[in-house]
């Protein structure tokens, strides 16, 4: 079982809490998903609204760990302030660090990401950086104190799956001992299975479940797909080959011509 900053998670599924049709469906989707981590955010609160308290109560009742994010931040300083506000509100030093560099693709800003990660790690945060499959960026993030990497599969919310399997395999192979979570772009359970089979340690997704026609059923599907991928990886899959090879023994076949 992979450890994330010293915490062994009972499930490799991390699920977002946004965009569900209702709080009740969110809660039921979490129950069916067996997810071990819920991602959350901080947003402006109106005086007397108490929306945040209601949501926080719902999340606490899920009985999972909380991973706050810095979604929507376009600079290191904005992300750092958001992270500090999240730490106070959610009482955790875990932070899913997002520093966005491009508004269309929501691609991370590698320079701002490393800058923010360095400062947050020094300040005692356990940083989960939303990154790409870039090996140099991974190296810099590890250098400044990150102990987990969260490469994207494809841009946030697209559901396009693993767009660069070669790059992701390379990243996995270069840092075999670093816990890695595929974060963003997963649209189908089969894509989550593929990522787990490649050796990634967990899957973080939101939209694919929340925007499914039946989020509860999709949460169940993802739960099984992630578990299947993990089991397959642990089972040491066969090596693919170009030439066909019969699986039924040739010796002993009746001569019938």
């Amino acid at each position: 079982m992979t450890s994330f900053y010293g915490v062994c998670l009972p499930s490799a599924f991390m699920l977002g809490t946004s965009q569900y049709p209702s709080p009740a469906i969110l809660a039921e989707a979490f129950r069916k998903s067996a997810a071990s981590v819920a991602t959350v955010s901080v947003r402006r609160e109106a005086a007397g609204a108490h929306a945040g308290e209601g949501f926080w109560s719902l999340v606490r009742d899920l009985g999972v760990l909380v991973l706050p994010n810095t979604a929507g931040c376009y600079s290191a300083s904005e992300a750092i302030t958001t992270a500090k506000m999240a730490r106070e509100l959610f009482e955790t030093d875990w932070i899913k660090l997002e520093v966005i560099g491009h508004s269309d693709s929501l691609q991370p800003d590698p320079f701002g990401l490393v800058d923010a990660a360095a400062k947050l790690c020094r300040d005692g945060f356990k940083v989960f950086p939303y990154t790409t499959e870039d090996l140099v960026l991974a190296d810099r993030l590890l250098d400044v104190g990150c102990e987990v990497l969260m490469p994207w599969g494809s841009p946030i919310g697209t559901g396009l799956g693993l767009l660069n399997p070669y790059g992701l395999r390379s990243l996995r192979a270069h840092y075999p001992d670093v816990p890695m979570v595929i974060d963003a772009g997963i649209g189908l359970p089969s894509q989550a299975t593929q990522a787990m089979e490649m050796g990634f340690d967990a899957i973080l997704l939101n939209t694919a479940v929340a925007k499914a026609g039946d989020p509860v059923l999709m949460a169940t599907a993802f739960s099984r797909a992630i578990e299947a991928g993990k089991l397959a990886r642990d089972a040491d899959p066969m090596e693919p080959r170009d030439m066909a090879m019969p699986s039924t023994p040739v010796i002993g076949k009746a001569f019938l011509q």
Partner: protein, 65 residues
């Protein structure tokens, strides 16, 4: 004095962040704060001086992906 709270113009009489939160109706709500882009921890609010034109952000837990 005039300040910005969550992007909206507000006229407040209090000078300290903690008192401004009370005056603006946040009472004992579970919120986190930042002033002019910098985090202000809950234990600092009581003595944290606010000046005219300052931008105060007040946030709470929300859904996230």
């Amino acid at each position: 004095m005039k300040i910005l709270i969550n992007g909206l113009h507000k006229d407040v009489t209090a000078q300290k962040l903690g008192a401004i939160l009370l005056e603006a109706g946040y009472g004992d709500m579970r919120v986190a704060t930042a002033v002019n882009g910098g985090f202000v921890a809950v234990e600092q609010r009581k003595e944290f001086e606010i000046e005219a034109g300052d931008q105060v952000e007040i946030v709470a837990p929300r859904q996230g992906g």
